[in-house]
């Protein structure tokens, strides 16, 4: 049973933004001429996940079993007023942060890992597989799979695998099997290793390996981000935030989040979209991966191998190999189609911040609020600080999504990128 107090805050449904978009979402396109990569999804994703990917239902009921697990892993997460940060910045408005680092795995990723593993278990699949960048998604997948008794094969981007050995330990503790990607487990991985033996790896390569592994082993692929279903599951973040603000009589003037593929950002902000244009929404990326300012809004590959369908999104190109930056979760070349459409239409603004701005923001946040945020989340905090400085006298209520903690990313403070 969900406790009564949590029941008041946790939503009963996931929210899907597609019916509320200002224009039709461009459908996925097959990546190859003579086969349907869209049809292939039937063999890659759990059936219910696939159905939810293409649904236009505005609200999708969260199964009771998933609700129970949401509570077990720490939902609802806290919405905290950052009074110390306000004071530090001499800001007379209000700053709140939604803290997804309070979940069991330390990030928002578990919000979609649980339902995807649940549906996979219900459908009796042999196991699940996925890619991970910084390791947060891999940790969430490993835990969710373990909760439902499924084996998990995780392909971790090589540079992160080398830089973050503790993440591997976490995934192993959750019974996940982790390899550096590119790996020798898949044909695509072997090909990449042969052609680019020193590659640091990319999320695109990791996705390609996981999808191939799913097809070859009758596993199902777990969707970390980009695809709409992940954003829909993540909507628990934004819906809780709305409810928590409502309970204290507050209203968000500005929402700020960071964007890798767009799942924490979409989950946090999309539930506010139907309320109109009153709330300013800002998506922050790393300036090393400037997908919104220098990327093209076009159909592009989601994975490097082109097994998955193409999607229309802002993209730096599927062959874009980003710098081995401090925030592995933001290294993805593209962004979710629904988020891309809302940025293209001007409903959501974008911002880019530098590594030094992020590190400074993380230090300020740690010193004022005591929270060591994930480097990815540091981008959102940096944008929020910049916003406050630029709008000092407007006294707005700013809400920032701190998508995860950075307790396993402390090495970024001791070395250059």
């Amino acid at each position: 049973m969900i406790t009564a107090i949590n029941r008041d805050i946790m939503p009963e449904n996931w929210y899907n933004v597609v019916p509320d978009l200002p224009e039709p979402l461009a459908p996925p396109r097959d990546s190859k001429q003579d086969v349907s990569s869209i049809n292939l999804l039937n063999k890659i994703l759990p059936r219910e996940v696939l159905k939810q990917e293409f649904t236009f239902r505005r609200y999708e009921k969260i199964p009771d079993e998933v609700m129970e697990q949401y509570e077990q892993i720490g939902r609802p997460t806290p919405l905290i007023r950052a009074k110390n940060l306000e004071k530090y910045l001499d800001y007379h408005g209000k700053i709140f942060y939604k803290y997804e680092g309070a979940t069991a795995t330390g990030s928002h990723k578990i919000n979609t890992a649980i339902p995807q593993a649940y549906y996979a278990m219900k459908e009796g699949v042999k196991g699940v597989t996925t890619e991970t960048g910084a390791g947060q998604w891999g940790s969430a997948t490993a835990l969710a799979a373990s909760l439902y008794g499924l084996p998990a094969q995780i392909f971790m981007v090589r540079i992160s695998f080398e830089q973050k050995p503790l993440r591997k330990t976490v995934m192993n503790l959750y019974n996940g099997n982790v390899v550096a990607s590119p790996s020798t487990l898949t044909e695509y991985g072997r090909k990449m290793l042969k052609e680019h033996p020193d590659t640091p790896g990319t999320l695109g390569i990791g996705i390609s390996e996981a999808v191939e592994y799913a097809l070859d082993h009758d596993y199902r692929y777990m969707v970390a981000s980009v695809m709409n279903v992940a954003l829909t599951h993540q909507s628990v973040i934004g819906q809780e935030t709305k409810k928590q603000l409502e309970l204290i009589g507050e209203h968000a003037d500005v929402l700020i989040g960071c964007v890798g593929g767009g799942s924490n950002f979409g989950g946090f902000t999309f539930p506010f979209i139907p309320d109109g244009d009153e709330t300013e929404i800002i998506a922050t990326t790393a300036d090393e991966v400037p997908k919104f300012s220098k990327g093209d809004y076009k159909y592009d590959l989601v994975d490097s191998a082109g097994v998955l369908p193409q999607m229309r999104m802002y993209s730096l190109g599927a062959d874009f190999v980003p710098p081995t930056i401090y925030a592995g979760g933001l290294r993805y070349h593209g962004a979710s189609p629904s988020l891309s459409l809302l940025i293209n239409k001007g409903r959501i603004k974008s911002d880019e911040v530098t590594e030094s701005q992020v590190k400074e923001a993380l230090r300020i946040f740690a010193n004022t609020q005591g929270i060591i945020a994930a480097p990815e989340s540091g981008h959102a905090i940096a944008t929020a600080i910049n916003y406050v400085k630029a709008h000092k006298n407007e006294n707005k209520t700013i809400v920032v999504n701190v998508s995860g903690h950075g307790m396993l990313d402390l090495s970024i403070f001791g070395e250059k990128k």
Binding site: P24, A26, P27, E53, F54, F56
Partner: protein, 244 residues
């Protein structure tokens, strides 16, 4: 009479073989027919229909089909063109003029409100002024507000694609899908397409208030095999299902 709409890509598999099928269509069993004018980039079609466009581009000859257009028109079968705006936008007036000259009733433009949303209202109003039906093409990904606004400036039937592209089989909730479009557009004639092949598919759609179905991908394998009898049997069977 419920709408049974067979779809053919002109020029596929070649003009002679396609004409053999057009010759034997039992016109009394269909009321609409949809002709795909071969596209250079049929981006929202599945691999089967994409192949027909790619072959059709090589073979298509307007002269071959003019007598069929006349034949269907004389037999009161309304003809609709399936054309991508990306192919016709630079010769739009000329193309619509060609269709009108050949007694087509209207046009389905699958990429108009997706890739050319800002131009879509102007294009639809122009078609209205020309007295030519624009058939709104919607899919599950079309937002509610767009369905309502586009439908409000047209009077024709609606083409609702159940799948992300032709010939695809992604699981979906039929009851919820039909209920949604019926609620958004009460009383409007809704014809369903994409991924429909069995009589059960059709029965369920009609039970939920559908006005008809369009069938394309499923016919291609009959055309490929030259299965003229199978084709006639299939059309007659589907007519029967629609009339139940």
């Amino acid at each position: 009479m419920k709408n049974l709409i067979p779809y053919f890509t002109l020029g596929y598999p070649d003009n002679t073989r396609l004409c053999r099928f057009l010759d034997i269509i039992p016109v009394e069993k269909i009321n609409y027919i949809e002709f795909g004018f071969p596209s250079i980039d049929p981006r929202y079609d599945g691999p089967v229909i994409r192949k027909t466009h790619s072959v059709g581009n090589i073979n298509f000859s307007g002269e071959v089909y003019s007598k069929y257009f006349d034949y269907f028109s004389r037999n009161h079968v309304k003809m609709y063109s399936l054309s991508y705006y990306s192919d016709i936008k630079d010769r739009f007036d000329e193309f619509i003029g060609y269709l009108q000259m050949n007694k087509f009733s209207g046009i389905i433009i699958p990429d108009l409100i997706i890739d050319y949303f800002n131009d879509s209202r102007k294009v639809i109003e122009k078609l209205n002024d020309m007295g030519f039906e624009y058939i709104p093409f919607f899919s599950p990904a079309t937002p509610d507000s767009i369905i309502k606004s586009i439908a409000s400036i047209t009077n024709s039937w609606i083409y609702y694609g159940l799948q992300p592209s032709t010939g695809i089989e992604i699981p979906y909730e039929l009851d919820y899908t039909t209920e949604r479009i019926n609620t958004l557009l009460p009383g409007r004639e809704i014809t369903y397409g994409f991924g429909i092949k069995t009589d059960d598919d059709i029965k369920n759609l009609m039970k939920n208030g559908g006005s008809g179905v369009a069938i394309g991908t499923y016919l291609v394998k009959m055309i490929d095999a030259g299965d003229e009898k199978g084709f006639i049997d299939y059309i007659e069977k589907m007519r029967g299902v629609l009339d139940e």
